[in-house]
């Protein structure tokens, strides 16, 4: 009897589970400044389990085949019929012409069962160079993020070099320890963002936003409000005014939530594409809701302007001084470059970090 059951189970397994090697396609434009040296999709596969489960585990070895130093790169990962797009970015690169670097992709895609083998496509969305010039189709609007990462990297390297010049290696070491302590103290919560009229947020009471004004910010936000429910906050709206002499085309507001215990954390960012001439004001309303993965009773909300993009494509980000003058330092995540440098300090020591800073 048990033998028959084993056979039946084995047959059922054979019929139902047929993991197969993944068909993949890496498509870089012919004039791409990045070329593929080697690829390893060894652990990738596609399995039919009620749906197509596509596990992409790939290691790509790439070369800077252009003439400029590459500061960051974004790859887009997608498959036909799958939900949305995914991306993998490396924001802290410093790859000179001819130099190589690697990117690791670990992604799971689920798509409805369809005839034929699924094909995963990895394409280049963008490359940012050290002069802030950009190459790529930018389908994911990654250029904006990559420029911001590079501006933050330049800002933080300059800050650390200043510390090094003023206080020597010991001054830099103290700041690194302080940075590592902040990184360890930061609290985060799992959060979901639902777009559209997908929740009952309209029935919830409205609450005011308190905006933290950064004097150097080219845009001022005010009159913010959002609806708050149980472990839910949504439908944010506020007004912004361009107080700079340059036209603005995009801005981002950081959304901070405080719970009943007084703990604050950065819940989400609220980007807005809008054209604002100098001294012009305008409303922003977001049709979206935040939901937290654990029950939370929201006591209050606040926000601040975290970045502004001008009409010419240049950007403003808060200086370290501006962040230090407010309580934002505890809330704002360190830049990718600060995390890279602090990791170098942790693993290799202060002298290697000093040498790393001297490269820039």
């Amino acid at each position: 009897m048990s033998n028959k059951l084993c056979i039946a189970f084995a047959v059922a397994s054979g019929i139902s589970l047929h993991a197969q090697a993944l068909n993949h396609k890496i498509d870089f434009p012919k004039d791409s400044p990045v070329s593929l040296l080697s690829e390893d999709f060894g652990n990738s596969n596609a399995t039919a389990r009620g749906a197509n489960l596509i596990d992409v585990n790939a290691a790509l070895s790439l070369r800077n085949s252009g003439q400029k130093r590459i500061r960051s790169m974004t790859l887009m990962v997608s498959t036909q019929d799958a939900a949305g797009k995914g991306s993998v970015s490396v924001p802290t690169l410093d790859a000179g012409p001819g130099e190589t670097f690697s990117v690791h992709i670990s992604t799971r895609l689920v798509r409805p069962l369809t005839a034929g083998n699924p094909v995963v496509e990895v394409t280049l969305d963008g490359v940012l160079f050290d002069d802030l010039s950009f190459y790529g189709p930018d389908l994911l609007h990654s250029q904006r993020n990559m420029i911001r990462w590079e501006l933050e990297a330049q800002r933080d390297r300059k800050y650390f070099k200043t510390l090094l010049a003023a206080g020597g290696a010991e001054g830099l070491r103290k700041e690194m320890l302080s940075s590592l302590a902040r990184q360890g103290d930061s609290s985060q919560r799992g959060v979901q963002m639902v777009r559209g009229r997908a929740t009952n947020i309209d029935a919830e009471p409205e609450s005011q936003f308190a905006f933290l004004d950064i004097p150097e910010s080219p845009v001022e936000a005010s009159n913010g409000r959002a609806r708050i429910g149980a472990s839910l906050a949504g439908a944010p709206q506020f007004e912004v005014r361009n107080r700079s002499p340059r036209a603005v085309r995009h801005l981002e507001i950081a959304w901070i939530v405080k719970d009943q215990q007084g703990r604050e954390f950065l819940a989400a960012s609220m980007p807005a594409d809008m054209t604002l001439a100098p001294n012009q004001s305008g409303p922003v309303a977001q049709d979206a809701a935040l939901r937290f993965d654990r029950p939370i009773s929201i006591q209050s909300m606040s926000g601040f302007v975290s970045s502004v993009e001008f009409a010419d494509g240049s950007q403003w980000i808060p200086s370290r001084g501006a962040l230090d003058q407010t309580r934002l330092r505890q809330l704002v995540a360190p830049s990718p470059e600060e995390q890279r440098l602090s990791q170098i300090y942790t693993k290799k020591g202060i002298q290697v970090l000093v040498e790393e800073l001297k490269k820039f």
Binding site: L5, V90, L93, Q192, G196
Partner: protein
């Protein structure tokens, strides 16, 4: 008369308890059969002896004695005795004999159904069902459904995920825990990872189409 009347009928005949037509038949036989007649006489003598013995019983046990009440009292006393005995004597549990075959069949079915579920139901669906059952059991709504009517992006220590139109994309960067993660109201979620050896930072993201 070739066959004798059975002894039971003779006893009933002797006591006058046979039905009329059967009594007539037996009476006819007894008249012609010396052996049966002798047995009937013996039965009548025994009956007389019993009646005399009853007359000799102690005073208080009259002919109108309530025998039913006596039987009920005796039954009750026996039960009380048995109950008292159980109090002082450890009860021996009867263990039903266990057959390995039904258990093997049940275990096989569990394995088969579990395997079929694991093979055919996506993990996310299993998680959703589990979450719904937990919410029903606890009576609280601890976590939102993965997708209600619109696309949902999420960021947590498990990475980033987008659920839309029954499809899903999840990026977890090989099981590493992100050093930070966030969502944006424009429909994207991102998570940042730091390579412990090289310090290289990788940022993964999902986007609503």
């Amino acid at each position: 008369m070739s066959r004798h009347v059975i002894e039971t009928d003779l006893a009933l005949y002797a006591a006058g308890d046979l039905p009329v037509w059967r009594g007539a038949v037996v009476k006819l036989h007894v008249r012609g059969c010396a052996e049966c007649r002798a047995l009937v006489e013996a039965l009548r003598v025994d009956r007389e002896e019993l009646r005399r013995s009853a007359d000799d019983m102690p005073a208080g046990l009259s002919k109108d004695f309530d025998w039913d009440q006596l039987a009920a009292e005796m039954t009750a006393n026996i039960r009380v005795g048995l109950a008292a005995g159980e109090c002082v004597t450890p009860r021996e549990r009867k263990i039903a004999p266990v057959s390995w075959r039904p258990m093997a069949i049940a275990a096989g079915l569990v394995v088969l159904l579990g395997g079929a579920w694991w093979l055919n139901i996506p993990r996310t669906d299993t998680e959703t069902i589990g979450r719904a059952l937990r919410n029903i059991a606890t009576g609280e709504r601890s976590g939102p459904p993965q997708e209600e009517r619109g696309p949902v992006v999420g960021a947590s220590s498990a990475g980033v995920v987008l659920v839309e139109n029954g499809g899903q994309i999840r990026i977890d960067q090989g099981g590493l825990e992100p050093v930070m993660y966030s969502v944006s109201t424009q429909g994207s979620a991102s998570a940042r990872y730091v390579d412990q050896d090289t310090g290289q930072v990788t940022i993964t993201a999902t986007y609503v189409q």
